[in-house]
Symmetry: none
Subunit: 135 residues, 4 copies
Amino acid sequence: MSRGLSVDPSDAVPLWKQIEENVRRLVASGALRPGAAVPSVRDLARDLSINPATVAKGYQRLVEAGILVVKRGEGTFVAEKPPAPARGEREKELQSGALSYASLAVTLGVSNEDAVERVRGSLGFLRRKKKDETS
Amino acid sequence: MSRGLSVDPSDAVPLWKQIEENVRRLVASGALRPGAAVPSVRDLARDLSINPATVAKGYQRLVEAGILVVKRGEGTFVAEKPPAPARGEREKELQSGALSYASLAVTLGVSNEDAVERVRGSLGFLRRKKKDETS
Amino acid sequence: MSRGLSVDPSDAVPLWKQIEENVRRLVASGALRPGAAVPSVRDLARDLSINPATVAKGYQRLVEAGILVVKRGEGTFVAEKPPAPARGEREKELQSGALSYASLAVTLGVSNEDAVERVRGSLGFLRRKKKDETS
Amino acid sequence: MSRGLSVDPSDAVPLWKQIEENVRRLVASGALRPGAAVPSVRDLARDLSINPATVAKGYQRLVEAGILVVKRGEGTFVAEKPPAPARGEREKELQSGALSYASLAVTLGVSNEDAVERVRGSLGFLRRKKKDETS
DNA sequence: GTGGTCTAGACCACG
DNA sequence: GTGGTCTAGACCACA
């Protein structure tokens, strides 16, 4: 196992995006701490049996988002500083994520409270896990 | 107005999927009752200024899902007995969506309350929209 | 000529970045107006004798920056609205550009006033040209 | 301190180029006078915690440019007569840089004054930095 | 060894 | 026709 990184080629969401989300999740949960190295592009590509360029694209997005940093010739690492307070651009990203999730919930016929509760639960799960890993 | 059906061409989600989701929502909310007719493919296409094939594709998915039925020569109608979505699948999909959104919020450095509030807001927005369409 | 778009394969700056800058320049100067179509990925790639994926990468960056918009199945167009006031993220981009230019000027042994004057001149040139093209 | 020489590993520009530019600047500003010795490759590498090969590459470029000269067995020194850069080339490079920056500013929707002010600020920052290193 | 760029060409989704 | 994704593999810059 590559530290919990996995992809599903039959999924509609692009492989590079699956990788992005996976890493995001690992960082959010503290499984990947600031300064820690993520698997090299080639290694992860081999483990997942996909093309290195695909992995690179996923990493690239995270670099642009400030989640990862590249040290040339050394590898890719989790950024030391939590990505800036994030006004503006990222505001939109979060809002879009919220709407997307809400839409899913409504489509699935779930009550507002149930939908909200699940988010609250996931947040708690991540924060708790992060605290554990950090300590 | 085509009964509250609208699409956003600049949205990342495919037009046919927007149509599918819109109809699904209208049916779920009762705005479109079992047995009711949905707009004809070419009418809706004209109203939305999009390609009829795009509308057809959205309807097609709904027919395959058992939400709509086609009566040849008469038109397309809401099925009498919309099939209940598999509980297990829904559960997993929603849970996964919640975790995904939570991870995004955490990596963006957003507080739990802010993250939850945004979902609540989005849910309210969607329900309100649905209500408008229903009335 | 593809509307003034050209690249220099022997240049150290990546082809996709050259394309990005070229388009940015054409938009800034008004040669490409809001709503106008940019050359299709394949066409431009053929004209420049480079790979479509390379062109696509350049366009992609501009889409993410809000300069271009993609209409699926139709093509790529200059965005209608001037990219949002741009606080935050783009702040950094501009600052980085300024520092980069200043560094070049200092390295070249140019006086502050000369360096500033050249920027002022270029800005004037672009604004004037834009006004002409728009009118 | 190695005479004000410093590098930023997280910067996009290659370490060897940062070194090259630093030295070039120190020479241009007079902090390093003709005939003066520059730090030895291994000393500087140790001070900066980087690979000696990286330092060597930066020095090499400067030797090729006639800025530095190597006296075998003694060390590396600032050339007595630093060659004047070709006027024409400089001119074009600077002008191109100015236009590039101006285009960026315009597409970002920034006012002329704001754009100019940022350059002025960056220039001031660099000159001040150079002065510090000189003193 | 690392990541970044580019190519050639396939396949898919969309309109 | 459009752009988006992915692959396989080459080459380069960097440490």
